[in-house]
Assembly symmetry: C2
Homo-oligomer: 174 residues x 2
């Protein structure tokens, strides 16, 4: 189909190969369009040059995704579904975790506790008490630090306290 017949084997001359590639690629895409119109077919065509450059054709009014989905259905092939499923599972897992944390948080705040029994309430109370103890210890530490701080603290020329530690501990800055 040209000035001379050619064998169907790799074209060694790279610039010829490139030329032939782009001509034939256009040809195939044209044919794909035609069969789409003529025969009411759906076509998905993806071509990669050896250079890695890509071209595609996909019948109008049909997203490639849809075609691939049909492909997927028909072929029974998993394709991307594996990935899809992984993500879904991950979501489910995290959501579960999320829900239970949500519930635990609410309970600690004393919300949504009307259905809890004495034992369950006791567990929560214990946790709260433990938490409170820890928090208070920490507060005591801070107070101690402040006192130590105050005893060595000084004011600047404008009468402001000069102590990064003091500010940090009280949350006045940073």
């Amino acid at each position: 189909m040209g000035r001379g017949k050619i064998e169907i084997k790799r074209i060694e001359n790279s610039s010829n190969r490139q030329v032939t590639y782009s001509k034939r690629r256009n040809g195939i895409i044209k044919k794909a369009k035609e069969i789409t119109v003529l025969c009411d077919a759906k076509v998905s065509l993806v071509v990669f040059a050896s250079s890695g450059k890509m071209h595609e054709y996909c019948s109008p009014s049909t997203k490639l995704v849809d075609i691939l989905e049909s492909y997927h259905k028909q072929s029974g092939n998993r394709l991307w579904d594996a990935k899809h499923e992984n993500l879904s599972n991950e979501i489910d897992g995290i959501k579960k975790e999320n829900d239970s944390m949500q519930i635990e948080l609410r309970h600690l705040k004393g919300e949504d506790i009307s259905s809890l029994n004495h034992k369950e309430l006791q567990v929560i109370e214990d946790v709260l008490e433990k938490g409170q103890a820890n928090i208070r210890d920490k507060q005591d530490e801070i107070v101690t630090m402040l006192r130590k701080n105050v005893s060595t603290a000084s004011r600047d020329g404008h009468g402001k306290w000069v102590s990064a530690a003091h500010n940090e501990a009280t949350g006045l800055q940073t």
Copy 2:
């Protein structure tokens, strides 16, 4: 390219359409094979007849999945990633939520509080106190209910307490 020129528009005669479809489909697949060999290209071709029947061609030594993955990478096109991205975003969102709940929970339990300042600790303490108050109210309610219950309770023939309310409240059953 036949006995007569044809317009590129849907062939209305359905048997002609079917014939043309299968001829042209073979033609395209042949071309696809040729460009694959001649130009060292990779081709993925999926064709659906309007009947729903599918045919595919894929360059040898290349799985369709791989081609699609390359396609996906190169095209910057979302494709199935649209779905994936949605899922990923969802995951990110939930994870964020998760993390902050995680932190809040730890704080309420008095963990990981070494970097907190006085103000922040105070907030936590307030929440704990509020929660404790709620829990204690509920406990009181239960005690009241139990008392009321006990006064009207009875034992069964084997000496066991017969009171769904009592069991539920104390968590001995269910």
